[in-house]
């Protein structure tokens, strides 16, 4: 685990309808732009936000997204946390190994999202829910 950064700002968006996917995506995009992430990082973070909020909506029907600015020394990043109390994921390894599914199911969402961000933590318990935390840091030039 990384050292605990000082958290300066947090946004909480509840997810309980399809339109909330767009709300989370827009908040993530706005924040990444405000922090001057490059266009590739903005797209990666926004897409990750979209994939994970859709997972909450499709599989758990309700949950919450928390968006935080991370500051660690000179580094700036964004953390997205998704918490739901849905069915959880029984076979996490298979899901993370990826592959494409024909429906809106987890396969592509999780394995693809993992490749878009710098850090990806998942805690899931079948029948109890899933918490996913992703972090993306702004590139230093």
């Amino acid at each position: 685990m990384m050292s605990a950064p000082s958290q300066t700002e947090t946004w909480t968006i509840s997810i309980d309808k399809e339109a909330d996917i767009v709300a989370v995506r827009q908040q993530a995009r706005e924040l990444a732009k405000e922090l001057h992430f490059d266009q590739f990082a903005v797209a990666a973070l926004t897409t990750a936000a979209s994939e994970l909020s859709r997972n909450v909506w499709v599989h758990a029907q309700r949950g919450v997204a928390r968006i935080r600015i991370l500051r660690n020394g000179n580094r700036v990043g964004v953390e997205l946390e998704f918490v739901d109390h849905g069915p959880g994921i029984a076979d996490l390894n298979r899901v993370l190994a990826g592959g494409f599914s024909t429906s809106r199911s987890l396969g592509l969402g999780l394995s693809g999202t993992k490749r878009l961000v710098d850090e990806f933590d998942i805690d899931t318990q079948p029948g109890r829910g899933t918490t996913i935390v992703i972090r993306k840091w702004k590139k230093e030039f």
Binding site: E18, I21, S50, G109, R115
Partner: protein, 127 residues
Amino acid sequence: MAAGPIPILKIGATLLATIQIELHDTVVDSFQNDVLEQIEKTGARGLIIDISALETVDSYVARMLANTAKMAKLMGTNTVIVGMRPAVAATLVRMGYYMEGITTALSLEEGLKLQSNGSEPTDDERS
């Protein structure tokens, strides 16, 4: 022409759909149906989907776009997806989504050229 939130215009024998709004899943779903209905109504030989305004294309939207092109193909209409932004292309490939078999072009102009050159062979047809 179509009543949905994504305008679909007819230019000669080509239908042009320009996506200019933040895409909700339900909008994407109804767009797919609208486009296919318009193809039947107008007898369009080609379809261009302009996504140059889209800053984000997630796996769901990418799959719906690819599926729409495949459905149009089954009806006999070739689709060109135009104007994908660099960051969108990079993100899709990083996720592992290549939109294989889908014809793309840099710009609307290039897409119109492809369509007016008649039936651009797809990757499936070339092999």
